[in-house]
Amino acid sequence: MSSEFTALLLGDSITRWVFFPTLAAIPLLFMRRAPTAAIKWYGLVVSLIELFFLVTFALAHWDGAGMVVKDPVFSWIELPGLAIVYEVGIDGISLPLVLLTGLLLPIVLLGSWKGIERHWSGYVLSMLLLTTGILGALVALDLFLFYVFWEVMLIPMYLIIGIWGGERRIYAAVKFFLFTMAGSLLMLIAILWMGWTYGQLAGTWSFRYEDLLLLDLPLAHQTWLFAAFALAFAIKVPMFPFHTWLPDAHVEAPTGGSVILAGILLKLGTYGFLRFALPFFPHAADRLAPWLLVLAVVGIIYGALVAWVQVDLKKLVAYSSIAHLGFVMLGIVACNLVAWQGALLQMVNHGLSTGALFLMVGMLYDRRHTKKFEDFGGLAKVIPWFAIFFVFSALASVGLPALNGFVGEFLILLGSYQAGYRWFTVIATSGVILAAVYLLKMVQETLWGPLTKEENRHLPDLSAREVAALLPLCAFMLWIGVAPKPFLEPSRPALAAVLESYRDRLAGPIADQPTLAISAPGQARVPTFLAASARRESTGPQP
């Protein structure tokens, strides 16, 4: 096993870029007393190398229309009657999020340059481990492996909030941890249950994605399992009413933590719905869709309303995340290609625009050590470049056409309307109004109006480093807004295939008791990863 793993690490494989951050984190253990600047630069260089790995990988395996790549599978944990495999693969659904992760990592480090004052090596270490966790969760094709990565994400984030956070960081960190843990434990039970059921039917336990997709379960089983998965993911998203950890976590987390949290971690929840919860339990998902839609729509309106009355910049942005993720959930539950495309894009969009907003809130915090609206006002005069980026990002978040937010929201709403959820869509669309209300309030109270606070009079404008952190984000916002096609196209085949198999299964009968579907040739149950012809393996050793 270890030899196979090592070979994968050395080869041009998914495994390499999943574990590269972890490997690169090892020297940090011995750099505790190294000068801070060295650690910072080390982290930045590592993150750039990681980004390079990701981009070159994506380019190398791009086949013109999409990509489906899998690392060679090998056995990871072998027990009698139970084989857990190490299986990772990437397709159009995970690709955007993977690239987003790679993009955000250096930006996060740049954004933390000043804000983090203690234990830099630990911070970079946490960030790198977190990256591995995220990337791993995004590419894991064995549910056991997925769960492991899922939990790996949790701990560094917990540390980041708990160590480098604000005043109530412990409360926030514990809240974050308990919320997430509670959900994921239910998911673990569901995963084990599925593995066991598979074992009952096939003779040996399996947690492989493609194996478990073959399970046809009775509606009652599906409903419970779906509920367990959905709860774990809904907490992560977070959906109303499981969202209260988010504002606290964001407010207390350091800038980098917030960016990663909002930018990527939350997406794992929606990704989980798309990748696991819906394809596994189509009937239950269909049955429970109205409830999820209600929660999604309530989240949109609720998040927006609550964001509006916040007195803390960061909390406002945090609540806006709830609203934005509500859109994503709406799109995912709508089960419509347009909506799914929009949802996937919106995940990226949210990562970019909210990430940028959190970064800038952090920059303000670095300068003024406060995040309260009452301490700001009229900053546009003092720090014009900041104002430009801030307004730009806020507008992207509002969903202004020609910026990224619009594309995602538009496709989501269009798709869900098309899918027949008209009134949900209409209510959700009203979130567009509220988005303008709260984000413009944010801009207004921060940038416009007379300069009332003397302390603000001599704030320095953005430094080159800060611009370097923000510029890529804003460039992507504009690019996606103006020409979203290159960003939508890669994931379309994968989404379409998943949707097709979802619909096929939904159209099929509901099993009376757990059965194992025999995947006949041509039956596209696991479209992206089963079809060997469509699959290309990365150049690892052949097992």
Partner: protein, 645 residues
């Protein structure tokens, strides 16, 4: 070179100008900023003129569509595409021409502002977005422009961001617009869900092929077309400041005057009218919504006109006048007179831009003073401004042979056909318009100067860079009317030009409105009379060097009405009470009660229960090793006992 293939350049040039001015140019490089700021819309105007010339000479009436690139694919596929047809041609002409003139004017007006470069960047951005809006070949591009102009409106209203009020007004404008946009979006979803495309041409073709698909029942008793048009109309109501979403426009006067002229009079606010006209095929299939459009338009027209009577801020008067005139246009669109609506749109663009720029010249001269009560007798100091302003006033009042006369007449004629009541409202509005506009002229330019000595000392005519555009617009305000239908004749160039735009749907042909000459004469004379009465009343009250006394006397005679009008029927206050505050209260309740009290409360109760359990349990863990040893010992004893006995 085929100018028609350069359509994409028309919006792109201003965008480029905005980008250059916004990012590359520095504040100190004023000349460069001017060159870029003027040059971009100027070039755009040239390209537009060339394209329009080529269009009207070689392919009049045709629809020219030009796809630039594919925006999205997959389940929803749409191109970024431009479309030139008579409707967009007229709009492009108006926008580029008036826009360019206002840009030129701004060089003088904004010359001393610190945000000069920023101003031109925003203005160019606006031009680009507006052109995108009018040139877009599908609803999506239109929506992009639609929101783009909204953004620029927000930015430009809040141009003086260091003051308290302008940013607030900008935010208000954006949010109110967003309410309309929300409906617009829903309309687009419905459209796409029904027709599977957002392309104007595609939708038109489908509807023409199968009108029943559009009239099929949809929701709440609306047909597809009804629902879509209602949604779109709500969008238009937001953008074009109609009841009940007009409240942002008067506040939007907080922006620089050229902005008011360009965005809040000539172009952006008329986008709603353009959109309704653009969707006329659907409106024709939804007569009940058309009626709604007409009624809302008429109501807005008279409502805003009454408010205009009692305003003292010169720009507020013009703002309410704009609202009123926009109502007029919607009245026209609602009664099916789409040509008249666009006609009035065009003429209004000229004379309202003229009026705003004129008022800007006055304000410029008065050192920023906008209250007409502190002006008076300015005609001696600002002769050119006075003359052109007067031309604009007469034009908007509907004085015969000026532009307003023809376009208003066309609208009233259309209204008469649908309903005499609407016509009557329109007529009264026309009278009120004449009245309050002349009031503004009299208060501003006649009588004695009521301002401070200092202001009197500084009074001066504006530079040529401002007065020349005034002159050109004044010419437009005079001659533009002749493009449309001229009463008592069959001359109707615009009508002919527009014919292809107005869809003719099988089974829904509008009955050809050919009224007799007598009726036409009656209608024309009625409108002339209304204008005359309005002007006369104004002269009687504010004229003859009475200054403010006449108005005060009338105000004293009807104090309640005056109070109501002066305070704009308290609509802002009502909205604040019934919408904003309750919503804020709900939001606060959501936060404080639902989030903190209920959800977190439940969480904390759970945590508390856990903690208490742990507290009880922890008495056993004293931390004292001896106690643990005793437990251990007890365990050993128990085990021992169990094993032995």
């Amino acid at each position: 070179m085929n100018a028609l293939e350069l359509l994409w350049l028309i919006p792109l040039l201003p965008f480029a100008g905005a980008a250059v001015n916004g990012i590359l140019v520095r504040n100190s490089q004023k000349g460069l900023a001017t060159a870029v700021g003027i040059g971009a819309p100027g070039l755009s105007l040239l390209v537009a003129l060339a394209a329009l010339w080529q269009y009207s000479t070689t392919r009049p009436g045709e629809t020219i569509q030009q796809a630039v690139y594919v925006w999205t694919t997959g389940g929803f596929s749409v191109d970024i595409a431009f479309r030139l047809d008579p409707l967009s041609a007229v709009m492009t002409f108006v926008v580029t021409l008036v826009g360019f003139l206002i840009h030129v004017y701004s060089v003088g007006y904004m010359g001393h502002e610190p945000g000069y470069r920023r101003f031109f960047a925003f203005m160019n951005l606006f031009m680009g977005a507006m052109l995108l809006l009018v040139l877009g070949a599908n609803y999506l591009v239109m929506f992009v422009g639609w929101e783009g102009v909204g953004l620029c409106s927000y930015l430009l209203i809040g141009f003086y961001f260091e003051e308290e009020f302008p940013p607030y007004a900008g935010k208000k404008a954006f949010v109110v617009n967003r309410i309309g946009d929300f409906a617009f979006l829903v309309g687009l979803f419905a459209l796409f869900a029904t027709f599977g495309t957002l392309d104007f041409a595609g939708i038109e073709a489908q509807v023409l092929a199968d009108p029943a698909s559009a009239t099929a029942p949809y929701v709440f008793g609306f047909s597809v077309a009804g629902f879509v048009t209602l949604c779109l109309f709500i969008g238009a109501v937001g953008k074009s400041a109609q009841i009940p979403l007009y409240v942002w426009l008067p506040d939007a006067m907080a922006g620089p005057t050229p902005v008011s002229a360009l965005i809040h009079a000539a172009t952006m606010v008329t986008a709603g009218v353009y959109m309704v006209a653009r969707s006329n095929i659907l409106y024709q299939l939804a007569p009940e919504i058309s009626t709604v459009v007409a009624v809302v338009g008429a109501a807005t027209a008279i409502f805003a006109a009454t408010i205009g009577l009692a305003q003292n801020d010169i720009k507020k008067v013009l703002a309410y006048s704009t609202v009123s005139q926009l109502g007029y246009m919607f009245l026209a669109a609602g009664v099916g007179a789409y040509v008249a609506a666009i006609f009035h749109l065009a003429t209004h663009a000229f004379f309202k831009a003229l009026l705003f720029l004129g008022s800007g010249s006055v304000i410029h001269a008065m050192g920023g003073e906008q209250d007409m009560r502190k002006m008076g007798g300015l005609r001696r100091h600002l002769p050119w401004t006075y003359r052109t302003f007067l031309v604009g006033t007469l034009a908007i009042s509907g004085v015969p042979l000026l532009a307003g006369f023809f376009s208003k007449d066309a609208i009233l004629a259309g209204a008469w056909e649908r309903s005499p009541a609407l016509w009557a409202i329109g007529l009264v509005t026309a009278g009120l318009t004449a009245c309050y506009m002349l009031r503004a002229v009299l208060m501003t330019f006649f009588g004695k100067f009521r301002g401070t000595k200092e202001q009197a000392h500084h009074l001066h005519e504006s530079p040529a860079v401002m007065t020349v555009p005034l002159g050109i617009l004044a010419v437009g305000a005079v001659v533009a009317g002749y493009a449309g239908k001229i009463p008592f004749t069959h001359l109707d160039w615009l009508g002919g030009f527009f014919a292809p735009v107005i869809a003719v749907i099988p089974g829904h042909e509008a009955q050809a409105g050919h009224h007799g000459l007598a009726l036409e004469a009656l209608l024309v004379s009625a409108s002339i009379a209304a204008a005359g009465i309005g002007l006369l009343v104004a002269w009687r009250i504010w004229g003859r060097n009475r200054g403010l006394d006449g108005g005060s006397a009338w105000a004293a005679r009807f104090p309640r009405i005056h109070h109501l009008l002066e305070n704009k029927y308290f609509v802002d206050e009502i909205y604040d009470r019934i919408v904003v505050r309750p919503l804020a209260a709900i939001a606060r309740a959501c936060w404080k009660v639902v989030d903190i009290l209920i959800i977190d409360g439940a969480l904390h109760v759970g945590a508390f229960v856990t903690e208490m359990t742990g507290d009880l349990g922890r008495f056993s863990t004293t931390g004292n090793v001896r106690n643990y040893a005793l437990y251990f010992f007890a365990g050993v004893l128990i085990l021992f006992w169990w094993m032995i006995f």
